[in-house]
């Protein structure tokens, strides 16, 4: 399930609220990162995406993969309002990479 708009709770005081939110608590790998990636494609470089996810595979892999692809993690905290295993992560979109990196 994906929702837009502002996050339910405030984040770091020095950062703009997220431009978009994606909820990936109902899916597993590879859809966790696929949905996150699609949502990142819908915001601009420098903007923030809030990702609602579950502890475990998603929390282990989504922030790490985002950093490997040039984005940064601005916030990573439990989100008990949404259930015991729920976390939220803020990803700040990095600059796009050249398409030539696709070439083998």
């Amino acid at each position: 399930m994906e929702t837009g708009g502002a996050p339910a709770r405030s984040g770091p005081a020095d950062r703009e609220p997220p431009a978009r939110r994606v909820d990936i608590r109902d899916v597993s790998c590879p859809l966790t990162w696929a949905r996150t990636r699609v949502a990142l494609g819908q915001i601009l470089a420098g903007e923030t995406l809030e990702v609602l996810l579950l502890a475990g595979e998603a929390l282990d892999n989504v922030p790490r993969t985002a950093e490997e692809e040039g984005h940064s993690v601005a916030l990573r905290e439990p989100w008990p309002d949404a259930g015991g295993r729920a976390w939220r992560v803020w990803l700040v979109k990095g600059a796009p990479r050249p398409a030539s990196e696709l070439l083998p």
Binding site: L31, A34, G41, S100
Partner: protein, 229 residues
């Protein structure tokens, strides 16, 4: 238009590939690829293109399904004698609901071409038509236990400059499928926008090992001027 939830789910495994962004998938969705030949090379290539999400496949083959065409991955024994193009489209429709396959016809205005012709003369003619139409194209030809795949983005050396003579050996089905898959991959790189420069390349498949090299224009070839050969 953004990807639907169903498309994200369908293509999740390639959407997570490094360098493959959602926009890449959208490029594939709007592509119209003219596929020349639906035999032992073209059959596997068509399946890969459909599975990858190429939105429009224009199938171009005037032959009927032969008993030996089971190597093409598309045809069942009960389809022998039927037109290849119709049987191929039926198989592709069963593969993906996101990819529309139809017979190629003049005026179809493809955005790219994948040429999997069984004969070198047919391949050259089809490649020349694609070059003169200004569309990127890839030519995949099987040769014995290997083959070659030549990529010709706009402005690159033409197929005649870039290809090398084959041995004429009888093709092996496994090699044909490998060459078809390589051809589909090369075409996907072009359609996805991953090939931005004017350079082409040729992949020689030798003893199962692909060897890629940049192609060069033969001195004096009129393809450098945009004229016909």
């Amino acid at each position: 238009m953004a990807l639907s939830a169903a498309e994200v789910e369908r293509y999740a495994r390639q959407l997570i590939l490094p360098g493959f962004v959602p926009l890449t998938q959208e490029f594939l969705r709007v592509a119209r690829v003219h596929v020349v030949g639906a035999g032992e090379v073209g059959g596997p290539a068509l399946l890969y293109l459909a599975a990858a999400g190429v939105g429009n496949l224009l199938v171009d083959d005037g032959m009927d399904v032969a008993p030996e065409d089971s190597a093409s991955w598309l045809y069942g024994a009960d389809q022998v004698g039927q037109p290849r193009v119709l049987s191929a489209i039926e198989a592709l429709r069963a593969t993906s609901s996101f990819s529309k396959a139809r017979p190629y016809s003049s005026g179809a205005e493809p955005t790219a071409a994948l040429i999997c012709a069984a004969w070198s003369g047919t391949a050259r003619e089809a490649a020349e038509r694609a070059r003169l139409a200004g569309i990127p194209h890839v030519v995949a030809v099987v040769d014995g236990e290997g083959g070659q795949v030549v990529s010709v983005p706009p402005g690159a050396p033409c197929y005649s400059c870039a290809s090398r003579p084959g041995s004429g050996a009888v093709s092996r089905p496994g090699a044909a499928a490998a060459v078809g898959a390589l051809g589909a991959l090369e075409l996907l790189l072009i359609v996805a926008g991953a090939v931005t420069g004017p350079g082409g390349r040729r992949i020689d498949l030798v003893l199962g090992e692909p060897q890629a090299r940049a192609t060069a224009r033969v001195p004096g070839c009129p393809c450098g001027t945009g004229r016909s050969l």
